[in-house]
């Protein structure tokens, strides 16, 4: 089982600190999610199970939003980032 806590903690820090101008503040969250995705990819390739595939999709969606916050067009989409965090909270990756 993989601990998704590091990725969630990184997103939590973003939501608390709400950095706007400097995208580098998002880097840790991005890197944590990328690492989680790598694991999800490996896992899905190994099992081909529907559950693992859905996990991968959820992490991919989260990366889209976080990278969008890292390089925003206009304002950082904080409400959507909050939703991403909620969506990942029950993610269980073995």
């Amino acid at each position: 089982m993989v601990d998704t806590g590091e990725a969630l903690a990184a997103i939590d820090r973003l939501l608390v600190e709400r950095p706007e101008k400097v995208g580098h503040d998002f880097s840790e969250a991005t890197r944590r999610l990328v690492a989680l995705r790598e694991h999800c990819v490996s896992r899905w390739r190994e099992t081909q199970s529907e559950a693992d595939r859905r996990n991968l999709e959820r992490v991919n969606a989260a990366i889209s939003v976080i990278v969008g916050g890292q390089f925003p067009l206009g304002s950082v989409p904080w409400p959507t980032i909050g939703k991403v965090r909620d969506d990942l909270s029950d993610l269980v990756v073995r």
Partner: protein
């Protein structure tokens, strides 16, 4: 304006371009104008071959263009040199701006609406008093706090204005205050251009503008490649609007595109944020969730862009064919929605962080051409796969073997996991298709011979890749794969290699009726009900019949013709050669002068006519005025005296109420990296610039003593673009055999550098070694009370081919213009010293 129309100009200002060397074909029209008596001006930090051909050369420090052009605007306003009848009738000079607007003069260099936390502007206070004005750029969404229904005011009455120009918040008065301090003396202090030369240019430009005379500006990436590049171009637009140099023979602002079909790849875009022919890409965080919401948000109530629903629905029909039906919103949900800035610069940074797993590189060599080359290589090294298509080995394809990060020992081929697929590609003469040049001229070229070996055209590659993707996803039940399943992808192929027909693609771009597949004759036929399909509305008319490919037309005008060359290829839209050409006639519809006639109102025939296709509603009388009692929309809301039909108010925008991310008026900021402080404002640099400092992409603080010299990059005549095509060709490679840095004799003396000595150029991003070219073409500038040296280096070298040399872009940083996200290559800072780089010890490698 058409390239050849430059020959009709009375004054031509080349700025931000070394046109004679990098656009020699276009420059012949500059020479023709000069032979007819025109004054040619070159404003540039270096004395180049363009300077040598010019009547006046004005040296300016890189990145100070807005100070120079702002000074010219001030001269025009304060010396009362503007073309009053033109500007009062056709620009928004008399329009009254919202009471809440605060100019940068009163904000320390920052306009009202700036959000410090996000570094971006809300544009409420820039609007016309009492009404919100959507922009004409691809994204019509206005960034204001509350946009609900505010643009509806545009259909109720004309914009508020004061034709006496006395109102303190009319555009004229705002501009006078904004540019009051851009005096000739200030221009000299900021730019380093001697006041006398600046004033000579002011006189030359204004004396050659008006009813009888016109002038043009020509620019290239010397204007665009800055963190305020869009605003430099805007400054030229203001000058041309004030002087009446828009829509008229010999007048305009000519963008000299850097590649043969860069214009085409903007029209039918490879850009991430636009759909073909300047339709907005839906955004996940804008009101774009459904087609209905998208059209409601993006359709401008007045002006030509009111037609957007027709173009959008017809595009969806072209892409998704019979799958696109009214009941499924024409498959709108298949379009990807933007979540952020996905242009090249941020995606490079995302690559470094492992977000991106694969990349296609076609027609590009980013290891040489993209800024911060070694960071680019670190990004490529994190990919799982990389596809490069080119006709010779490029630095991007073999970065893993010969790249700087490998040579320095930072990485080794064994530690780079990227799987590189290098595909040989056909050259231009080995395939058919179109090229769209800088003046929107779409020209067909035939295939001359087969490409050698396994080389294939890009069209062949993309077509067959598309087919394979459709096969892969044919049986999928995933919603996200439905877009690929629904995509129309039926193009006839021919020959043993199954080459798809480029003409068939162009027919689809032109558009057709869905029911009987008849080619559309003109964009006026495009519908929003699903009965027409069109891949790019601005190109409609290029293929009006199955056998009539207008881009193949090759009938030039003769001596007795009008010079518009309308029988030569096709200029979008509707084969119009000069945009907004209704402005070539006065309020009564008659030419401002016989010498500068282009289109005019034929009262007898009740229509516009002339030497070009009128860029206007053909039957709209010049004295027609909107009937505001009927709440007019679209073109009905523009009068016969409103030539700028793509704008919501039909006027040339001297003051831009929305659309720009960094202010309604061009304002001088120092480059992000600069050796001097801003002489005009406490705000040092563009507050809205996109900055992404991080390890490996550190930025130099203003006046950083470690990096005292201004650094600029440029191309060479002898080596094309990124250089590969000419570096692998012996007879062009030997003309420029190796990289070099140009520096002035004064700086060379200070540093003890002689011509051909080895030198090291260094920034926080990296270091390169090149030989010195000590030349008087470079000169120091007195600016901000001190002497500033500038050095320059061609960016066209790499390690492949016969002509080797250091990659200049190793030295550059990744940051962007807020409007375009384009990088800065023209004005950064660096250190320079005599000597060579230390060679890495063999033990460091591995």
């Amino acid at each position: 304006m058409a390239l050849w129309d430059l020959a009709n100009a009375d004054v031509i200002t080349v700025m931000g371009s070394n046109m004679a060397e990098n656009h020699p074909v276009a420059f012949r029209f500059v020479t023709q104008a000069q032979q007819r008596g025109a004054t040619v001006i070159h404003v540039d930090p270096r004395f180049t071959r363009t300077s040598a051909m010019a009547n006046i050369h004005a040296p300016i420090r890189s990145g100070t263009d807005i100070a120079f052009l702002g000074g010219l605007i001030r001269y025009i306003l304060y010396e009362d040199k503007w073309f009053k009848e033109f500007a009062l009738a056709f620009t928004n000079i008399a329009t009254i701006i919202d009471d809440s607007f605060v100019d940068a003069e009163d904000g320390g260099g920052v306009f009202s609406g700036f959000q410090e936390a996000s570094g971006s502007y809300l544009q409420d206070s820039w609007q016309y008093k009492g009404e919100m004005v959507p922009p004409a750029i691809a994204e019509h969404f206005v960034h204001v706090a509350d946009s609900q229904g505010r643009d509806a005011e545009l259909t109720k009455h004309p914009p508020p204005s004061d034709p006496t120009l006395q109102h303190s918040n009319c555009v004229y008065q705002i501009m006078r205050r904004h540019y009051a301090r851009y005096t000739p003396d200030m221009v000299e202090r900021v730019t380093g251009c001697p006041e006398a030369i600046f004033l000579r240019i002011c006189e030359a430009i204004t004396e050659n503008s008006g009813r009888e005379r016109t002038g043009a500006f020509c620019y290239a990436v010397g204007w665009t490649h800055h963190a305020f590049g869009v605003q430099i171009i805007r400054a030229a637009s203001i000058i041309q609007g004030l002087l009446g140099n828009v829509g008229r023979p010999g007048g305009g602002v000519l963008a000299l595109r850097g590649h043969c079909s860069i214009q085409g790849s903007t029209d039918i875009p490879t850009l991430y944020n636009m759909l073909p022919t300047y339709l907005p890409q839906p955004n996940a965080f804008s009101p774009h969730a459904t087609l209905e919401e998208f059209l409601k948000t993006e359709t401008v109530p007045t002006g030509w862009w009111h037609n957007l629903p027709k173009y959008m629905v017809s595009l969806l029909k072209a892409w998704y064919g019979e799958h696109a039906q009214p009941e499924n919103a024409f498959c709108y949900e298949h379009l990807p929605k933007l979540t952020g800035d996905q242009s090249q610069l941020p995606m490079t940074l995302a690559m470094v962080e492992g977000v991106v797993k694969g990349q296609f590189v076609l027609g590009q060599n980013p290891v040489v051409g993209a800024v911060n080359s070694e960071l680019v290589q670190r990004g490529l090294a994190r990919l799982e796969w990389l596809v490069v298509r080119d006709f010779a080995m490029t630095e991007t394809a073999n970065f893993w073997l010969k790249g700087g990060i490998v040579q320095s020992g930072e990485l080794s081929p064994q530690r780079i996991g990227t799987e590189v697929f290098f595909f040989p590609s056909a050259m231009a003469a080995e395939k058919e298709g179109t090229m769209t040049n800088t003046t929107r001229l779409v020209q067909w070229h035939d295939k001359v011979c087969d490409p050698p070996g396994d080389s294939r055209s890009d069209l062949w590659f993309l077509y067959h890749l598309g087919n394979r993707l459709k096969e892969v996803y044919a049986d999928s039940h995933e919603p996200r794969d439905a877009a690929i399943q629904a995509l129309t992808w039926e193009y006839p192929v021919s020959g043993s290699m199954a080459e798809p027909s480029a003409a068939a693609v162009l027919r689809e771009v032109n558009g057709y009726t869905v029911a009987d597949r008849k080619q559309l004759k003109s964009f006026q036929q495009i519908k929003d009900d699903g009965s027409t399909a069109c891949g790019g509305w601005m190109y409609c008319g290029i293929f009006p019949d199955d056998a009539d490919n207008r881009s193949r037309a090759r009938r030039p005008d003769g001596p007795g013709d009008n010079g518009a060359h309308q029988g030569w290829a096709f200029a979008w839209p509707d084969n119009r050669r000069t945009l907004y050409n209704r402005a070539s006639a006065d309020l009564l519809g008659q030419p401002w002068s016989e010498r500068k006639r282009l289109v005019w109102w034929d009262a007898e025939r009740e229509k516009w006519t002339g030497n070009d296709t009128p860029d206007f509603v053909l039957t709209k009388r010049p004295d027609m005025r909107p009937d505001w009692s009927k709440r007019p929309h679209g073109m009905d809301a523009l009068g016969g005296n409103d030539p700028f039909i793509m704008e919501a108010d039909g006027r040339c925008l001297l003051f831009v109420p929305s659309g720009l991310k960094d202010g309604p008026l061009p304002t001088h900021y120092e480059p992000v990296e600069s050796p001097v402080e801003n002489q005009l404002y406490p705000q040092q640099t563009n507050p809205a610039a996109k900055l992404w400092p991080r390890p490996g992409n550190e930025l130099h603080a203003p006046q950083d003593p470690r990096f005292p010299y201004v650094f600029t990059t440029y191309r060479l005549t002898e080596l094309h673009c990124g250089g590969i095509s000419s570096r692998v060709t012996p007879h062009t490679a030997e003309l420029q055999p190796e990289a070099f840095v140009e520096l002035s004799p004064e700086l060379a003396a200070e540093l003890g550098i002689a011509n051909l000595d080895w030198t090291v150029l260094r920034t926080a991003r990296g270091a390169v070694e090149v030989k010195a070219l000590v030349t008087e073409r470079m000169r120091p500038f007195m600016t901000g009370g001190k002497r500033v040296h500038q050095v320059g280096m061609p960016w066209v070298f790499g390690w492949e081919g016969y002509a080797h040399g250091a990659i200049a872009n190793v030295l550059l940083a990744i940051f962007g213009d807020p409007n375009t996200s384009i990088h800065t290559t023209k004005a950064l800072t660096c250190a320079l010293s005599k000597g060579r780089l230390p060679q890495p010890e063999p033990a460091e490698r591995g």
